[in-house]
């Protein structure tokens, strides 16, 4: 049985990556052309990896489910990207970014990976500027920065409220250049449905063409998964409609360990739920917390009057407002990390101080508008204010926004070692779909950093190191029996779904699953709820296979079938998520077990027993998965209670 070997290079933290690069094996240019690399996903991690590996000379095939690689959901990231440039001269450094990320992740991330992330962060900014990413600038012509949750320095680079869009379009342009050069072949509207393993190594994938339903086989000397997170298991989330955890789940079922599935980030500033027809939740960037102040009424009567529509926010006097984050966490105020801000909002609403439907708090820009002027606020957040107004029909320049937490990001994902390789040889995972850098909670503006770090600056080295041993292996024809078998599994799954001909739509199942997950495996979890959730999820899975209705055929564009294929995986993933949450008898970061809290209601970690990465191994249908533990050894950082007071 494989024990987890994280393959962290020896030596002091600050020298590990340099040493790795110096000793890593290379592939000569003539051989690179003979090596096939498959990249699944074209978000920041996938597009940047494909472009960089293509530029190195490898033969890259890249796949996405949308009509164009530019649609990947990285595009929706608003706030910014962190780097340790220290341009504002406010005391930032690689060491501090490293420390903040580890602390923000509640001491549940691997030191060596996080240090490398901080180390390459500066190169990302250089790269993006060279590509023509129009970051915000000061009048001097130099780059502007702002601050984000969990940090006391200004290290976030941004492009209005559309940073993800600009970075993704940068990576997409680099990808386009390689497509034109012929080093990268782009396959859009194809969804990965299975992983092909030959002699223990990842050797290809099976895709379904969403336009024609055609099942196709693709060979690669290695496979890189960059397919994002699994937040849509919760149905309502800030993820795009097509974001899904299916590809990662297929790899799990083929032997890749799944790490920390219970670490789910609930983002504090989203537009609240307002109806059961709702299909997704919209995020209001964390950057708003730079200037917006979060509050609820101090008096329950006021909260109730607001809920009934008898009073508005503007009727509440200053002394009757409870700026609860500033009250509880004076040092960080409104800029505490996301998990803390989310729980504090839930606490106030559960206690009866919520506004709107009762599940909302105010985010108020009155003071910012008085201090900076409306123009300045508009320049900083104009597009977000407009977006808010379009959705809610309220004008945030006049009345405070209403916000509530929503599922946003998954820190858990496929287990990877220092080289971003999973427990399957030749299968790499990058960006949100791996578990690697954020521990139990991700800091704002760090997802973009990680996606691009993995794609531009880590995988080009580590994948090459792996491929150096592959130069003697000719491509395996896709007529190999392993491809037959993998394709057969896909065909059977599709046939099975189509044959059910039941009475319920896929959405109704996904909504029900989301409801179970949000209520019992959401922001506050406890043993009772989790033990109830697991059989409920199992029962739902059973019902799905008996009662789902997908009536159109496979051979055409059939979104219902796509959704059904994903749901079949999501319902299984949900169960593992709940099991992991049950297993982790502590509170840390985004994982809050109500049994484990301090008297003031703060998360209480149990470092004695839970300072490990929980990596699950699939043991076959009907058997319990096995939990493996990778101990986290903090050699360089002193582990402390997280304190933002």
């Amino acid at each position: 049985m494989a024990t987890l070997n994280s393959k962290i290079p020896e030596g002091p933290l600050s020298e590990k990556w340099t040493k790795y690069k110096a000793s890593q094996k290379l592939v000569n240019p003539a051989n690179k052309r003979k090596l096939d690399v498959i990249v699944v996903g074209t978000g920041l991690a996938g597009a940047s990896a494909a472009a960089s590996l293509g530029a190195l000379g490898f033969n890259v095939k890249v796949f996405c489910i949308q009509d164009s690689p530019r649609r990947a959901h990285s595009i929706a990231a608003q706030g910014g990207i962190n780097a340790a440039k220290n341009y504002p001269n406010d005391g930032d450094s690689v060491g501090r970014l490293f420390y903040d990320t580890i602390k923000g992740g509640d001491y549940r991330a691997r030191e060596a990976n996080v240090y490398r992330l901080a180390e390459v962060s500066n190169s990302i900014i250089d790269q993006c500027v060279a590509q023509g990413v129009p970051f915000a600038r000061e009048y001097s012509g130099y780059l502007a920065n702002r601050s984000f949750g969990g940090a006391q320095v200004s290290r976030t680079f941004y492009a209005k409220g559309q940073t993800g869009q600009q970075l993704l379009l940068g990576a997409y342009s680099a990808l386009s250049q390689q497509i034109k050069a012929g080093t990268v072949k782009m396959y859009a509207r194809k969804e990965m449905e299975n992983l092909v393993i030959i002699d223990g190594k990842a050797r290809g994938i099976i895709t379904r063409d969403v336009k024609t339903g055609e099942i196709e086989r693709w060979f690669g000397h290695c496979v890189i998964l960059a397919t994002g997170g699994y937040g849509n298991v919760y149905y309502l989330s800030t993820n795009a409609m097509n974001s899904n955890g299916s590809a990662a789940w297929q790899c799990y079922k083929k032997g890749a360990f799944f790490a920390n599935p219970c670490y789910v980030q609930i983002h504090p500033t989203c537009i609240p739920v307002h109806g059961d027809y709702q299909s997704k939740l919209t995020l209001m960037s964390e950057s708003l917390r730079n200037d917006g102040r979060i509050w609820v009424p101090k008096k329950k009567e006021d909260a109730e009057a607001i809920r009934k529509g008898e009073k508005t926010a503007n009727d509440i006097d200053e002394q009757d407002r409870d700026y609860y984050l500033e009250r509880r966490y004076p040092a960080f105020g409104n800029l505490v990390p996301r998990d803390i801000a989310s729980r504090a909002a839930k606490e106030r609403c559960d206690a009866g101080y919520g506004v709107g439907t009762g599940k909302a708090v105010f985010l108020d820009f009155k003071d910012a508008i008085n201090r900076l002027g409306k123009d300045k606020v508009e320049e900083r957040y104009g597009n977000l204010f407009q977006m808010y107004q379009k959705i809610t029909d309220d004008n945030p320049y006049e009345t405070p926004m209403m916000i509530y937490p929503a599922v946003h990001y998954t820190m858990g994902g496929l287990w990877v070692d220092y080289e971003l390789q999973t427990t399957i040889d030749g299968l790499f995972a990058a960006g949100e779909c791996n578990f690697s850098d954020h521990g139990a909670n991700r800091l704002g503006a760090s997802a973009l950093m990680q996606g691009l770090a993995d794609g531009y600056f880590v995988l080009p080295y580590t994948v090459q190191n792996y491929l150096s041993a592959e130069i003697y292996n000719a491509p395996i024809p896709t007529t190999h029996e392993a491809f037959d078998l993998a394709e057969k599994e896909v065909n059977e799954k599709i046939a099975k779904i189509l044959s059910v001909k039941g009475n319920r739509t896929v959405d109704s199942f996904q909504k029900e699953l989301g409801h179970i997950m949000w209520e019992k495996v959401g922001m506050g979890r406890n043993k009772e709820g989790l033990t109830e959730a697991i059989p409920m999820i199992k029962a739902l899975k059973e019902e799905f296979w008996k009662n789902v209705r997908v009536d159109e055929a496979n051979e055409c564009m059939n979104p219902e079938l796509e959704k059904a294929l994903r749901f079949a995986d999501h319902v299984e993933l949900a169960e593992l998520l709940a099991m992991d949450a049950l297993q982790r008898e502590e509170s840390c970061g985004g994982h809050f077990r109500e049994e484990h809290q301090t008297e003031e209601g703060e998360a209480k970690r149990d470092d004695e027993n839970f300072m490990f990465v929980g990596a699950w191994q699939y043991k076959g249908e009907g058997s319990e998965p096995e939990l493996h533990k990778e101990d986290l050894n903090y050699e360089f950082i002193k582990v402390q209670q997280r304190n933002y007071k």
Binding site: A136, S173, A174, A240, T282, D551, P559
Partner: protein, 251 residues
């Protein structure tokens, strides 16, 4: 709210399409346009009326550019400055008849129902919509200061989401607004200068080759752009093009 929906149905690229009419009742005014279509699809499936209507969408927050419906004769519908996914039913009147079609443009063939193939846009970008900076070996990000105004203008041009509304709005199916936004972004930045001349010529040629029409200065594109991309970008591209032709030493 109640609506009568006249929706374009077409099995595949070869099939002949037609309008089908569906009635929908009890829709909340806070419901988004695409959520309204979700509800329609639920009804079509549950009541065994027809196959669900297929339409492209992903982020549902106006940034990915995947959605795009021609609603009552306007790309992205009656609201200004938003994509289809950001349109809400409160913009309509109770009892309205709403006509929903795919983008109509020769370079964007229909795949099914309301879904079109916009890969022509990717092909144009591949001709030169980038700065050839391969990974690594680039200077420090602050090595070259860029005047704030240029950076801001470049950002405005770069906000294009590639949805194709400009093409759908244009009677000639011209892609000038889309192409000029990308050309402008790079023309405004010092990093984009070395390749500027080649870029504009190649991208315009590709656009013509792919069957997009010419610009006859009607600017329906600007009026219908959900991201308010300005027509000044077209002027800038034309200048770049002429200047490139005048100073070109090759060919």
């Amino acid at each position: 709210m109640d609506f009568t929906l006249k929706i374009w149905r077409q099995e595949n690229a070869q099939a002949k399409g037609r309008f089908e009419t569906y009635k929908l009742t009890g829709i909340s005014p806070d419901c988004s346009f695409l959520e309204m279509l979700d509800i329609l699809n639920e009804t079509l499936i549950n009541d065994n009326i027809a196959h669900p209507v297929v339409f492209d969408n992903d982020c549902r927050e106006g940034i990915c550019g995947m959605c795009g419906l021609y609603i009552n004769g306007r790309p992205h519908g009656p609201d200004d400055g938003v994509t289809t996914c950001q349109l809400h039913m409160r913009r309509f009147h109770d009892g309205d008849t709403i006509t929903i079609e795919p983008w109509r443009a020769r370079p964007f063939p229909v795949i099914k129902d309301l879904v079109v193939d916009r890969s022509a846009f990717d092909k144009i970008i591949q001709e030169g919509g980038y700065i050839s900076a391969t990974t690594g070996g680039v200077p420090d990000a602050n090595a070259i200061p860029i005047p704030k105004q240029d950076a801001d203008e470049a950002m405005d041009a770069a906000s294009c989401i590639g949805c194709g509304a400009c093409v759908a709005a244009c009677k000639n199916a011209s892609a000038m607004l889309f192409v000029s936004a990308k050309v402008s972004q790079f023309a405004l930045l010092p990093q984009g200068k070395p390749e500027a001349k080649k870029r504009v010529v190649k991208m315009i040629k590709k656009m013509d080759d792919l069957g997009f029409g010419a610009c006859t200065n009607t600017y329906a594109c600007e009026a219908e752009c959900p991201k308010s991309i300005k027509r000044t970008n077209i002027a800038r591209m034309n200048r770049e093009f002429i200047c490139s032709k005048l100073t070109s030493s090759e060919e």
